[in-house]
Amino acid sequence: MFPYFQSNSESISNGICIILALVSVKLYTSFDFNCPCLPQYNKLYSLGVMIVPPIILFFLGVLVNRHTGVMMDEWMRPMGNRSKNPSVVKYLFSAMLQRALLAPMVWILVTLLDGKIFICAFSVSVDPTIFSGTYISLPTAPPGLPNNTGLEVTRIMAKIPCKEDAIFRNSSFRKAVSRYVRCYSQAVGWSILLFLIVLGAMGRLIKPCFDDQATFLQTRYWSNYLDVEQKLFDETCVLHARDFARKCVVQFFEDMREDTILHLPFQPTIISVKDEWDDEDEDRLHGITKHDQVDQLLNKWYYNKPELDIYSPLPNKIGIPWPPRECTETIHTYIYIYIYI
């Protein structure tokens, strides 16, 4: 089961997406929210806390997603031998966007359902008279403040998010206002949740009703193909580099050994190493054995991707490998002729 999940890059993306959402919840619970309780700064601080972390989480989600790289490659590459399909780019973009938007949405919703930030932002805008007559109403102003009703009220309302402030010690006014604002905050949060889920459900139910379901199958196949192809190409290059390096080092040692043997007073038979040229090594190097061949290969992979049309291999072939096999240290030429009968 594990290799199945591991090889499926979509499940990996979904897993990363969910992990980011959980990180977002954990971040919120461990964040020490400190409302400044001053009329000029409350709103700024709260909106900052509500907006800046989601933006960060969004960019993180985009960075971490594999599809971003695949999409950018496909969008920016020159046409070459392979035609470009804009619907594939659009599909990859929307998949990436959906996954990246989950963690920010989770942060915003947890914020709204918790209510602290709303209280901090909007306690100043609450009209205190709706609470009058019921509780021990507006506490008397602390001594020393000017008796200017407007400023006083605003400052007092701005202090509501701060539990420990002295002016609220004997009154339940603060709690009443907090509950009131929290109720609004939770209502907004649930409304957004409901709206999103209705959107999601409609999308799921209605999408196949549009008649491009067949095109959608094609788009999905080719975007998965691009992803797999990029991964396989990287893997092949890594394996090629490893074999290239190994061959180069081995040839260098052998050349050194041959040189030392040649300098001896009597020359024993030189054991030819040509016969031990491994067939597997041949296969893995795919015939790319020179520096500029590799450069040309990598260059062409970007500028001129191959056509999506693979010919079938012929059973009888004569293969003449491109001489010479160079290593930067020594130059030897070997010519091989394989004849398949």
């Binding site: 509950r179 009131y180 109720c183 094609q218 092949t236 597997e280 290969l297 693979i310 398949y340």
Partner: protein
């Protein structure tokens, strides 16, 4: 081929349990979300009822729709509903069955939320505290001088511990409402369980044979779609592998040679097998246009549910002749047919 078989068995054996697992996880998530959610009644006459009842109703709707969104069978259902008839006829009973099973699974998480909310009692307390007759709960002399609106405002503050000044009356009233709420909760649970029991117990009395047929074909549609997706993914992988290989070879100017005469080495046999299995996985589709046609026809003109007979006869013959043929080709052919035959047998027995 091995990988296909493994994956096939995994998918088939786990498909039902996967959906049931998701269902259970959502039910647990619903209970967890209720306990993590900070219920804060506004304690004001205009808002209490809306808040209390809103929290009883809106999250269940949300969980129900979430069940639809998370369930993959919804897309299967919608596709099956909207596809052109092609070579395969459409059966409306299958659509109905799938819809019913999706709905049943999606109803579990909302039911859990409603039960937990009712058992806890806070939502009822918030919604109905203003309808109480406060004289029943103790010494309420402080109410005597109040006007109607003031009385209602007082009653509205009962759910809030920190806003109501007479704790004993508050405790008595909240116990009373919680008791009613729990009674409603238990009645709700009883009703849901009884309904589920009736559906389960009575259904076999009606149209059991047709039901078996419907269940089989809806399961078939689901698993066919999964296998198609898996086949496409495997094809894409093999396509990419061969494409990259040929690209490397084109750059080097060298053509690959099949090393049949070195077949005494085990490694090159493995390489050959790998290459051959890559070729097999391509299933003959080697060009972009061909693949596009395959995918287009899969939706617009699904194949008929009738497998070709000649393949089975050929397999049987192959099995008999495979033992006689000692040559390399014959061995491979017999081996492949043996594998295929086993797959066929596996499929049949699961049915």
């Amino acid at each position: 081929m091995d990988k296909f078989r493994m994956m096939f068995q995994f998918l088939q054996s786990n498909q039902e349990s996967f959906m049931n697992g998701i269902c259970g996880i959502m039910a647990l998530a619903s209970a967890q979300m209720y306990s993590a959610f900070e219920f804060s009644c506004p304690c004001m006459p205009e808002y209490n009822y809306n808040y209390g009842i809103g929290l009883l109703i809106i999250p269940p709707i949300w969980f129900f729709l979430l069940g639809f969104v998370l369930n993959n069978n919804v897309s299967v259902l919608a596709e099956e509903w909207r596809r052109p008839t092609g070579s395969r006829s459409k059966d409306p009973t299958i659509l109905r069955y799938m819809f019913c099973s999706i709905t049943q699974r999606s109803l579990i998480a909302p039911a859990v939320w409603v039960s937990v909310t009712l058992m806890d009692g806070k939502s009822f307390l918030c919604a109905f505290s203003i309808n109480l007759d406060i004289e029943r709960f103790g010494n309420t002399s402080f109410v005597k001088g109040m006007s109607e609106t003031e009385k209602i405002k007082l009653l509205a503050r009962i759910p809030c511990k920190d806003l109501f000044e007479h704790p004993e009356i508050r405790m008595a009233a909240s116990r009373y409402i919680k008791c009613i709420s729990q009674a409603c909760g238990w009645m709700f649970l009883l009703l849901m369980t009884f309904t589920a029991f009736l559906i389960r117990a009575i259904r076999p009395c009606f149209t059991q044979a047709a039901f078996l047929k419907t269940k089989y074909w809806s399961h078939y549609i689901d698993i066919e779609r999964k296998i198609f997706d898996e086949t496409c993914k495997e094809h894409a992988k093999s396509f990419a592998k061969v494409c990259i290989q040929q690209y490397f070879e084109n750059i080097s100017g060298e053509m690959r040679v099949l090393h049949h005469h070195h077949s005494n080495r085990d490694e090159s046999d493995d390489e050959e097998d790998k290459r051959r299995s890559d070729e097999e996985k391509l299933l003959g589709i080697r060009a972009q246009d061909d693949m596009n046609k395959v995918l287009w026809n899969w939706h617009t003109c699904k194949p008929a549910l009738a497998l070709r007979k000649d393949q089975i006869a050929e397999e049987n013959e192959g099995k008999m002749n495979g033992n006689l043929n000692g040559a390399v080709n014959g061995f491979i052919k017999g081996h492949a047919h043996q594998v295929e035959k086993k797959e066929w047998a596996v499929y049949y027995s699961k049915v």
